[in-house]
């Protein structure tokens, strides 16, 4: 017998021994693989949920769908309403919305302009995008007033009296020049101060 044949026989015997020793591991292997694969199978997903929901089975299912649809429409309208009223569209608005919700630091700031002969008085500033907010003089004494809800901060503004800008409010904290004219400045939210 050649030495190569001895080596082959030795290898076969060793392999057989190994297989016999670990044969117990193969018992029930098929079942174990099946159960493992079953565990990895995707569960009933969103698609199944909708398929089951939409399956044309009974009339009751149609009624249920109608209820869900109607409620969804109600929530849709509610969502639009909430988004318009609550959601901010900018960083500054977010802070203002948060402050307004807290209701602790915003102030109703009083703007007063004596203008006895004026037909209209308004205030414009960086709190209203420089669009006029009208002042009123209900008792006709020539003192025009408006209260505007503002968050703490620094605001530049001017009065517009019958179309003419007036930027030197005696009640202002400061004055600055802007486009060759004056703007009044009001700080809102100083500790211990109110409007």
């Amino acid at each position: 017998m050649k030495p190569e044949d001895d080596l082959d026989r030795l290898l076969r015997d060793t392999l057989n021994q190994e297989v016999e020793q670990h044969a117990y591991l193969l018992e029930g292997l098929e079942d174990r693989i099946r159960s493992e694969l079953a565990g990895r199978l995707p569960r009933a997903g969103l698609g199944d949920l909708f398929r089951r929901l939409l399956a044309p089975t009974r009339g009751a299912r149609i009624a249920q769908l109608a209820v869900v649809g109607a409620t969804a429409v109600v929530f849709l309208v509610l969502g639009v309403f909430l988004a318009e009223k609550v959601l901010p569209t900018g960083g500054g608005s977010l802070r203002h919305a948060a402050v307004a919700a807290a209701g602790t630091t915003d102030e109703d700031v009083l703007f007063v302009m004596p203008a006895p002969d004026a037909k209209s008085v308004a205030v414009v500033g960086n709190f209203n995008n420089w669009s006029p907010t009208p002042l009123s003089d209900p008792d006709g004494d020539g003192i025009w007033t408006a209260r505007i809800h503002l968050s703490p901060g620094r605001y530049e503004y001017a009065f517009v009296v019958d179309g003419h800008w007036w930027g030197q409010d005696p009640l202002a904290d400061d004055y600055v020049r802007s486009f060759g004219q004056y703007n009044s400045v009001r700080y809102v939210g100083r500790a211990g101060e109110g409007a």
Partner: protein, 238 residues
Amino acid sequence: MTRAIALVLGIALLASMAAVAATAPDAVYRALSGISLVHHDEIVKAFEIGFSLGRLSPDRMLPLVNRLAAGAGNPQEKEGILLVIAQALEDDLPVDLLVDKAEEGLARRVPLAVILNGSVGQSRILGLIQRKEILEAVRDLLYSKGIFSASGKGKAVATYLPIGRFDRIVTEVADVLCDYIESGGSPFDGHVIYGDVQARLETLSQLCEPPFLPEDAALVLARISAGDLTSVILKVLK
């Protein structure tokens, strides 16, 4: 079945809220179509950056665009106003000051050329171009003093301020310098300028709900000097 209902309702609520919140920038872009713009795409692209960083809000920008669209004036100058704001956004600068001054100028019926370029007459008027230069010079001054902005939501580390706080300081310091120049102050009175900056920052940081934190004000005031502020003004006025 209950889960299905909850799912449908949740999706409907989220979709509707997201849809409404997302319409605001579109309103600005639609309004832009009312102005004859040569650089429309560049402006829209810059505005998108501004909206995404929170430097520009649609409800802040829409009134300005509508005013520009509705008002009379040279279309090139209208576009110039939008381009300065767009370039500031691309240059990583805050734009609140520019938007506000543009709106004020339009409300005052100031000629578009003056809003854009300013004028040197009996009293100096700063245009958006000069204001942008001041914003840039102040931002660079803070950088040179080791005060930086950190974008994203990461917490501030050392002198890396969150972008909102950094922008606010740049805006306020630049605004003080603009006010000083328009009031006819001399750029060589550095201590007066510094005093104005100090008064503004300290007053704002003492408000009930401070626009920026006292420590930010203290940091800036400790690192900049009267000479620095003089240099900024001279750089812009040269």
